[in-house]
Amino acid sequence: MLWLYLHLPHFSLDLFHRGKEKTQPGPLALVDAAGKSLLQVNAAAASQGIQAGMSATVAGCLVPDLKILTRRPEMEIAGLEDLAQWAQAFSARISLQPPQGLLLEIGSMLTLFGGLSGFWHRIADELDALGFTANLAVAWTPLAAQVLAEAGGGPCNANRACLQKALGALPVEQAGLPDEVAEKLVGMGFRQLEQLLALPVAELGRRFGQEVIAQLGRLTGRLSDPRRFYVPSPVFRREISFIEGIEQTGGLQFPLQRLTGELSQFLRQRHLATDTLFIRLKHYDQAPSSMTVGSAGLEYQADEFLKLCRLYLAQLRLPAPVTGLSLQVDHLQPLKIASEPLFNDRQERVQQQLLSRLQARLGRDAVQGLAVVAEHRPEKAWCYRQPEVTETACQKLAAGEAPPRPLWLLDQPEELTTGRPQLVSGPERIVSGWWDDDPVCRDYYLARHPRGGLCWAFRTQDGRWFIHGWFA
């Protein structure tokens, strides 16, 4: 298996600079959390004499316009994962080597790209376009590729003899051995790796220990070196930062359009769909505000997502200008292809979309479906329920002589102050509910109301009259 290693010597600095325009960065340096010594310097700083390991104050004195950035490990890991996602276009087997490296298995991909040199130049060009400086190296073992890349890059040649020569020409300090072992070896007079590799393994092991010969074994391929490959997590997360803060929700339309387009592509490629989006808005001096956009059913199309986001955004008031917008989707479910005829499926989807839109603007509580409950007490013989799109609706029709029920039911029965109304028919006695503290003992009558219309009136045990509904 042929391996390619990408070593990014100043990865953090590149990540910081990527958001800015495409000019050459000025001198940049990275300090660790303590802020004392420099970890990485970019090319512009190195050309002015700054080196990694220097103290930050000395570097500041040497180069007055040096920009010093603090290292953020979480940004590095996120950036490495994003780079791994990009690298999936080049290889299916990618291994992350934090903090600054990426390992790709390319033996299976060379025919697609037209040989090693085509592959090499393509990757180098694309990395350059993304804004990263990288050293590339190929080898027949992962560790050899890593060592060659960290030393400054290897030859673009898959020939074993040539690679062996390049490996052998490496200084011993750069072979990836522990520091004290490397010091001892240098003190013994070993200059290049090939001198070390020429020695018998048993002797080396007795002198330096098992780890050293294990390392050399992995380097030469004598021992296997399995690596854990990167598996992209099934979560969609994209973020766009803005240079100036956006003050009105109208200005968020285009970034949202881009994000929903990317989401739709992501879902389509993996044959997934979702019904919840988390949108987070970052503000300059305030805690980020967030919004959850839900749809009634599983969706995967960009314009539906955009419509729903617009509806939610229209009701959002921005507390401060927005400096960053991120879209995250956690709940992904496989997309079911309905086996119903096309017409039914389309009708159901249109119904579901209408439901999502109504719920998005009016709120879930304002849009309700109804259901019949088997209960004698009229005010409890129904309930609200979450509306669902059902293709076949079956309902037992009330058999024959069911007692009449009004089409309008009042929320609370209204007392009739004028006393007994003009009765038309009845009574229907309902006595129920003694078991759950809500007993009802009423005689229901159909009555004619003085202003016209037929109402459903009842008389309680103490002789008071109420209206409970209208026969409209």
Binding site: L358, L370, P406, L407, G452, G453, G469
Partner: protein, 233 residues
Amino acid sequence: MNTEVEKLLSRAGVWRGHRQGVDPGTYPAVASGYAVLDQCLAGGGWPRGALTEILSDHCGIGELALLRPALSFLSQQPGWILWVAPPFLPYPPALAAAGILVSRVLVIQPQKPADLCWAMEQGLRSGSCSAVLGWPARLDNRAIRKLQLAAESGQCPAFLFRPQTARINASPAALRLELTPLAEGLAFRILKRRGGWPVAPQVLDRASLQLPGLPPKAQPPLASTLVTGPWTG
């Protein structure tokens, strides 16, 4: 007559004043279920793809009974039946008894009046509703025109229930009815309809509206089973 003139006269936009000489295909309609009403309406029923205004001062005088057969028929087809801001709850057991599928009913209670018009418009335009009923508090003509256009584009029957005071204003709705309750039933007057002049009030009696409360029809007793008195002692 000249065929060009014939064609022009048989189009729906041209109405010859003396009768409705238009074939029913030009006005798609849902049969209302009441022959007296259907005769007066263009297309023989409630117009699909147009707005119907029902004006009445009170709720519960029989306005829903007028729509009940049409709603029962429409609920058999896939699609929501939207009730936007109803004054009371549409009682599910009564809906079920009337033959309206309760699972297709969607009740919307918007907080703002602008949301009411928006919800009705969305329902009408989407093409996923089989009927939309609305009880607006106050509507101006511009909003009614938008609803009329939305109903046309979605080909969905739309019903607006408004107070009788709205009668004096002109409205872009295709059909306007005014309802008055009577002891024996419901009186309806057509204020505006397509392809005809306004119609004088007509009465739908309680029996044909199938409102309950009538004494059951007296069945003639079977002589063999009837035992008559008087009994002494």
